[in-house]
């Protein structure tokens, strides 16, 4: 069982970094979600704590929610690519793979297939977490084809509507008219319809949201992971603003996310009938889990 790899030999424990020992003693590994999870953040050792993200970064906040929502953190692998997100994702106490630019969904296709071959009786959750550029521009064909092939893993797009990490260039998910680097006279076309593309390509569960409500955000993440285990690809399109490139004062980041929730990131949830059935089963078993 994979949980064993986390547990240090008792004689070594005192020599290990404090952070690691705290993860073993007070982390979420092997625990009941109701005792950890988003509702209890701050009361246990979280999987991602320190990170180098900017002050007021809404993306860093959402990444913490992702890791606090994992149903099976000891059996999870995350895959990312270039971008701000991976700066925090790679700090989490969950194996993380950085392959090539934008190939996260191709890499994940290989990983999930090999896992199913090697661990046929167990769920090994695979989650790709990348930005709008990584998912919809440079990685577009691999994002789409993984969905068309019905690869069973979860795709999370952290949409800040800009290339943040490289200094604020236009992305396919920027708004029409947005004046950014590489679109000095304003972007000439609109935001790519990621949610519709995901549904068309065969994702069984798709959510678009601005994650202002922690429980709601967590529920979507968990549903996406559960459905991907058996049913097919799942996709979360989440607004994670870039307060630097869009000049959002730190104090207004939450207000901006709330505004987005009323606008182009209004909550939308799509699921197939099969997914609906699955969630009803899981959630009726554990009423405490869903808020």
């Amino acid at each position: 069982m994979s949980l064993r790899y986390m547990i240090p030999a008792s004689k070594f424990k005192k020599y290990l970094p404090k952070d690691y020992v705290e993860l073993v003693d007070y982390g979420p590994f092997g625990k009941d979600y109701n005792d950890v999870g988003v509702k209890n953040m701050g009361t246990y050792k979280e999987l991602v704590e320190e990170h180098p993200m900017c002050s007021g970064c809404w993306m860093a906040y959402y990444i913490k929610i992702i890791f606090a929502s994992l149903p099976n953190p000891e059996d999870t692998v995350t895959i990312g690519t270039a971008g701000c997100g991976r700066l925090a994702i790679s700090q989490a106490a969950v194996p993380f793979i950085y392959g090539n630019y934008g190939d996260q969904n191709a890499m994940a296709s290989g990983i999930t297939r090999a896992f199913r071959l090697r661990f046929p009786d167990r769920h090994k959750d695979v989650i790709t977490i990348a930005g709008d550029g990584g998912m919809m521009d440079i990685g577009f064909s691999m994002t789409m084809h993984a969905w068309f092939r019905r690869e069973r893993f979860t795709t999370i797009m952290l949409d800040n509507e800009v290339y943040g990490n490289t200094g604020g260039q236009e992305s396919g998910m920027s708004m029409e008219g947005a004046i950014l680097k590489m679109s000095p006279t304003g972007k000439k076309f609109g935001k790519m319809p990621a949610m519709q593309l995901a549904i068309t390509a065969g994702c069984v569960y798709v959510v678009k949201m601005s994650p202002t409500n922690i429980n709601k955000a967590s529920k979507a993440i968990r549903r996406a992971i559960f459905a991907a285990r058996t049913l097919g690809p799942t996709f979360l399109h989440v607004y994670t603003s870039c307060n630097i490139e869009y000049s959002i004062p730190t104090n207004d980041v939450f207000r901006d996310a709330k505004e987005m929730e009323k606008g182009r990131f209004a909550y939308e949830e799509y699921m197939t009938d099969e997914a609906k059935e699955l969630f009803a089963q899981i959630e009726s078993k554990n009423k405490r889990e869903v808020s």
Binding site: Y5, G110, K124, M142
Partner: protein, 397 residues
């Protein structure tokens, strides 16, 4: 199909598992008549392959179809067609990082499309195998045999072996997994052949029975653990050094890259064993005229050697079987008697001539002549080789 279908003796398709030595050197063999693409299927059938991802491009497509058939027949664990070669090589990386023995094939423009992946493969120390069926690179459009693409792969940190014919492709592609998976090597391997000349040519070939196969890959012997949440993951993947913008990150990157090259070097004794040497020498031992070549060019050089013998001129052929690691010692030893070293090649740039010149620099008095050189699908008739030899040797005399 899953790993649960395996026992200690039998793999998931019911084949008895044997050592690489038994499979390559001891098992009785029977004569068959087949193409390079067909023989690759036979090789992979005997390798207990976990995963293969494919994409069509001439001339490797048929080999990729046939590996797909192996999957349909229950010999390969998982198989699918990817979206393009870049995606395919990333999918291969995913399979291999998760602990699967993985193979893929490509050619020419496909290799270049996938280029970003190859240094990533070696940097992550995955022991996957790419069977390269070399063809020309556009533009102008060509689908013909030409091995220019190999020059792009030389510094990717992958091992590169070169097979001359159908028989060598069979034996090499089996040995390739074994050497690549050695814990002190553990880097990707590219097994190259000349497209069409080998992929599409039917030759007689000696094969062991198909009810035996290699033992499965054991990812837990890897120097860099698989990313399967069964053991602590490789630190550089979990927490990439680029996140630490300080001297440690620069030093770590440099030493890591150095280690990848050292790992390729450490494959020498294993390759020597399984390939019967990194270079094969034929012809007159004390000849002053020496051909150094790989693949089909070495076949043509051997023909030239026979013609020269008839004319009373001594020559020998040094066929390089590994390009990475480069067989420096073997080349130096084999060219001791040389006054003229001819490097016939199927590409416009003469990458092998450059390799040979660099390897012998300061160590040999011989004149290295990078001719004849043909490209874009041109053939290399023996007459062309003889012409170069006679003209140059006459001039030099």
């Amino acid at each position: 199909m899953s790993i649960k279908n395996m026992t200690k003796e039998k793999n998931w398709s019911g084949q008895t598992m044997v050592s690489t030595d038994y499979l390559l050197f001891e098992a009785p063999r029977e004569k068959h008549f087949m193409t390079g693409s067909e023989v690759l299927k036979e090789a992979m059938k005997r390798c207990t392959v976990d995963a293969s991802v494919s994409y069509p491009i001439t001339p490797q497509s048929e080999a990729a179809h046939l590996i797909g058939e192996l999957w349909a027949e229950g010999y390969v664990g998982t198989y699918f067609r990817g979206e393009n070669e870049f995606g395919v090589m990333s999918e291969v990386a995913g399979c291999a990082m998760a602990g699967a023995r993985t193979v893929t094939t490509t050619s020419g423009p496909g290799t270049l499309r996938a280029m970003e992946n190859f240094p990533m493969w070696s940097g992550t120390r995955i022991p996957c195998q790419l069977v390269l069926m070399a063809r020309g690179i556009n533009s102008p459009l060509t689908i013909q045999p030409d091995n220019l693409e190999v020059s792009f792969l030389l510094e990717t940190g992958c091992m590169i072996w070169y097979a001359e014919n159908v028989q060598e492709l069979f034996d090499m592609s089996i040995a390739a997994f074994t050497v690549a998976e050695m814990p002190d090597v553990h880097v990707p391997i590219i097994t190259a052949v000349d497209g069409f000349f080998v992929s599409h040519t039917r030759e007689s070939v000696m094969l062991p029975a198909d009810d035996i196969a290699l033992f499965p890959y054991n990812p837990y012997k890897a120097p860099l653990p698989p990313i399967d949440s069964e053991m602590p993951p490789g630190r550089f993947l979990r927490d990439p050094f680029v996140m630490k913008s300080n001297y440690i990150s620069y030093a770590t990157h440099a030493s890591w890259q150095w280690e990848v090259r050292s790992a390729v070097d450490r494959s020498r004794p294993y390759a020597k064993h399984f390939l019967n040497g990194l270079a094969h020498v034929t012809g007159d031992q004390d000849a002053e005229i020496v051909f150094v070549a790989c693949g089909t060019a070495s076949h043509q050089a051997k023909e030239a050697n026979r013609e020269l013998t008839k004319m009373g001129i001594k020559s020998k052929v040094v066929k390089l079987r590994t390009i990475r690691p480069f067989p420096h010692a073997e080349l130096l030893e084999a060219t001791k008697s040389a006054k003229y070293i001819f490097v016939p090649e199927f590409n416009i740039v003469g990458w092998l001539e450059k390799e040979v010149t660099q390897s012998l620099y300061g160590k040999s008095e011989a004149k290295v002549i990078g001719r004849p050189r043909v490209a874009g699908g041109m053939s290399m008739p023996v007459e062309a080789i003889l012409k170069e030899v006679l003209e140059n040797v006459e001039k030099g005399a």
